[in-house]
């Protein structure tokens, strides 16, 4: 609990309605989407202007109070869980204005708390396209997406959040405003600090504004689903599609465990015996889409797909895609606790990774279902457990340790899109190097001499 004097100061600055000091309110900012122990902050503040945001940071810096910035609190790595009980949480959901959508210069300028899907909808109304579509896009905020470098289903063809950040403005630990990037495609003025802020998880600065790249939307789409009796063949099909120089906008994968569970739940007649299914969508100009769909179909058949389904209309596509939409909800209903991982490997290594995942689950007597973004090797092995069962949960932790070992051995990465936070900090050095950790820590200490910004996240300070 913060001191009465501090509470009063913030109430004067932001208004009583934007300062949450009661125990009940504070407890609701003690967690995020990661399965980690909550930490109740001392105070929660919600600036509603950029100026107020800067003054909040400055005040906390002057008082030496640790701070954690929070958007929707939907990240999966603990990035918005307060570091200590002295921490003050700064909310960005009072800053939700889309300041500009420029269809001549193809960019948007937004405040940090704009919800991803709200931006996507607003630009779509002007016939423009903001592609990053993380699974949490209905609630996640743009600044959260930038701070975590959020991905999504369209990563393979359209890239991830970092590919759409043209510039950011942010407050450093002391409350000074820093600006990087511009509304122009080209900009080499100074260090690429916007790049440094991307995936910095609230440790280097607090984003107050972003300039985001927009693109023209694709004119046409075509979807299909393919069944395989062997994961290896599915992976070869993925590689084959890319080798044929087709880059689908969506190339999703579901393993047999997931297929069976989804079918149990939806009774929609999925191929229960298939080892894997791929959901593929190509988009672009109508002629190109027709050509590419033909190529994809040919590759799928050549690589041994046991069946290829091509939906005739939107309604059929919606039904085919249900399997993917329902994957996480269905897995989440199987057991009380769902641990959703995002270890990522080069796409050619998907069969090896899948074999390892299922082997590890068997070794530790755990249930796992895997789905994910086959096109970019970003798999979501989802462990189904009950965190109240201490023994079983310990086995989950051991399994995840081993999973990361395998991912690194296969030249992959700990985290494709969920971030490091505190959840994966202990494995950072294994994937990178001692020097990487030290370099990052020195960088942090130089920029944040009092060690106040999300101190325990990433590499620590």
């Amino acid at each position: 609990m913060a001191s009465q004097a501090l509470i009063k100061d913030f109430e004067e600055l932001l208004g009583k309605e934007n300062v949450f000091s009661s125990e009940a309110d504070r407890q609701t900012y003690s967690y995020d989407s990661a399965v980690l122990t909550p930490v109740v902050p001392a105070l929660v503040v919600r600036p509603v202007t950029t100026e107020q945001l800067g003054l909040c940071v400055k005040k906390l810096y002057e008082n030496g109070i640790p701070m954690t910035v929070r958007g929707a609190g939907s990240n999966l790595s603990g990035g918005t869980i307060p570091d200590k009980t002295e921490t003050v949480v700064i909310l960005t959901n009072g800053l939700t204005r889309i300041l500009e959508i420029n269809s001549a210069d193809l960019y948007a300028v937004v405040e940090p708390g704009v919800v991803t899907v709200d931006l996507a909808t607003a630009v779509a109304k002007q016939n423009l396209f903001y592609p990053p579509d993380p699974g949490s896009q209905a609630v996640s905020t743009i600044a959260g997406n930038i701070a975590e470098n959020a991905g999504g289903l369209r990563g393979l063809k359209y890239g991830v959040t970092k590919d759409y950040v043209m510039g950011v403005e942010f407050f450093d630990a002391t409350g000074e405003i820093v600006k990087s990037g511009s509304r122009t495609v080209k900009c080499v003025t100074g260090y690429n600090l916007a790049g440094v802020l991307i995936q910095s998880e609230g440790t280097l600065g607090i984003i107050s504004q972003a300039i985001l790249k927009l693109i023209p939307p694709p004119a046409a789409q075509k979807a299909m689903m393919a069944e395989f009796d062997d994961i290896q063949k599915a992976a070869e099909a993925v590689a084959g599609i890319i080798a044929a120089h087709v880059v689908p906008c969506t190339l999703e994968f579901l393993d047999n465990n997931t297929i069976v569970r989804v079918d149990d739940f939806t009774k929609s007649g999925l191929p229960r015996n298939a080892a894997a299914i791929l959901l593929i969508e190509v988009d672009g100009h109508a002629g190109q889409v027709a050509d590419e769909a033909q190529v994809v179909e040919k590759v799928l058949k050549a690589k041994g797909a046991t069946a290829v389904h091509i939906p005739k209309d939107e309604k059929e596509k919606f039904k085919l895609w249900e399997a993917r939409r329902m994957a996480l909800p269905v897995l989440a209903r199987c057991r009380p606790t769902t641990v959703l991982e995002d270890a990522t490997v080069p796409r050619s290594q998907i069969p090896a990774m899948m074999k390892a995942i299922n082997g590890i689950a068997e070794k530790y007597k755990l249930e796992v279902g895997t789905f994910g973004h086959a096109g970019d090797g970003n798999l979501h092995p989802t462990f189904l457990t009950d965190k109240r069962d201490k023994q079983e949960f310990h086995r989950v932790e051991e399994a995840i340790d081993e999973l990361f070992d395998v991912a690194i051995k296969l030249q992959g990465t700990l985290s494709g899109e969920h971030g490091i936070g505190t959840a994966k900090a202990k494995w950072m050095e294994k994937e990178t190097s001692r020097g990487t950790i030290l370099f990052s820590q020195r960088l942090r200490r130089a920029l944040d001499p009092k060690g106040l910004l999300n101190a325990s996240k990433l590499v620590g300070i």
Binding site: A24, D32, G73, L91, A138, V139, A332, P336
Partner: protein, 429 residues
Amino acid sequence: MNTLHNLARRLMQMDDKIIGCMKCGLCQAVCPMFGASGMEADVARGKLALVNNLAHEMIGDAEAVLDKLGRCLLCGSCQASCPPGVKITEVFMEAREVVTAFLGLHPVKKMIFRTLLAKPELFNFAMRVGVPMQGLLFRKTGQPQGTVCAPMLNFMLGDRHMRPLAKKPLHAVHGVIDEPKRAGGMKVAFFPGCLGDKMYTGMGEACLKALQYHNVAVFMSDKFACCGIPALSSGDALGMMKQMKANLAVFAQADFDYLVTPCASCTATIKEFWPRYADRLEARDKNLVSDLAAKTLDINEFLVKKLDVKSAENAAGVAVTYHDSCHLKNSLGVAAEPRAVIAANPNYTLKEMAEADRCCGCGGSFNLFHYDYSRKIGQRKRNNVVASGAQVVAAGCPACMMQLEDVLSHNNDPVKVKHTVELYAESLR
């Protein structure tokens, strides 16, 4: 002993339900309360965390938790879109009951729920006395919704624009109705609900007209009590049970094929909540409850599914937009039928509004205790209604109608509010 520890133990019985929350936070996208306040404690994830903390004795302030639980419209939007399928409204209802039992029910609420609403004679008498006084207290707003306001009752009613009580309630106009089945026809028990009996009698009349037109015999008592949802929302299961029992005594006397109501909340209560509390009844009443629940239908669903009411062809006329009541769409899955009922009148054309299924912000007694938020949430609904360009907004629940009239009236909008069956009945000769 009534200790925090015992409260926690009682709440721990819900642990299996609560732990299902994976804290994804997707409820933020659909929660009307969160949309208005932006506070995590107002969204399902936050409330579940607080109930969980109370159950694990990690928070001592039960009153604060109850206060947060009260900041919820029980619209069920979160539950309808919850990825792990947590039975959120069940948890909230039960938590309200358990924590209210621990803290004690406010004496005024106790009087209203356990005496006034459970005793139809008393409630009807009180309203009868109240009607002539309205002229003294209410002032016409002059708005097309026919609303009044009550500056002298501002301390109690706030700045509400509302429909005055009917000069004569539905049950007083008709007395007891108990028609014999006509050849080849069905018989229904028609439960108008408190608002249908005492405020929106036009809606009740329209329903009776439609039933008559379709050769359906009607049973309607003058001894119906409140369905119990206001008591239940306030955590007063005892009061709700009293009201339920008063109604069971009436239904036990009659013979009918279906129980039909024009009020989404009454339908959901009888169909979903009564059975949940039936375990606490004697065997005979328990069977009656499950029998009634199986026979209960929203009137739109009844008209479409049992009487085959269909959309009219070549409809062209007044533009009407439809608001999905939470208790119809989220609780009962009734969304297509009310639209078909509107379209059955060729003089109307249905024009969908944006976010038709987003809560209007009434939330029953939520509206009484959080009128400021209720209005804020209602304003979003009003904006969508007005943007649709419709001249009429229809709903399948008088509570939503009350809220829609309030917000439209406050904005000087020339949009009328009607029940779907009122529109349909206009086409019947």
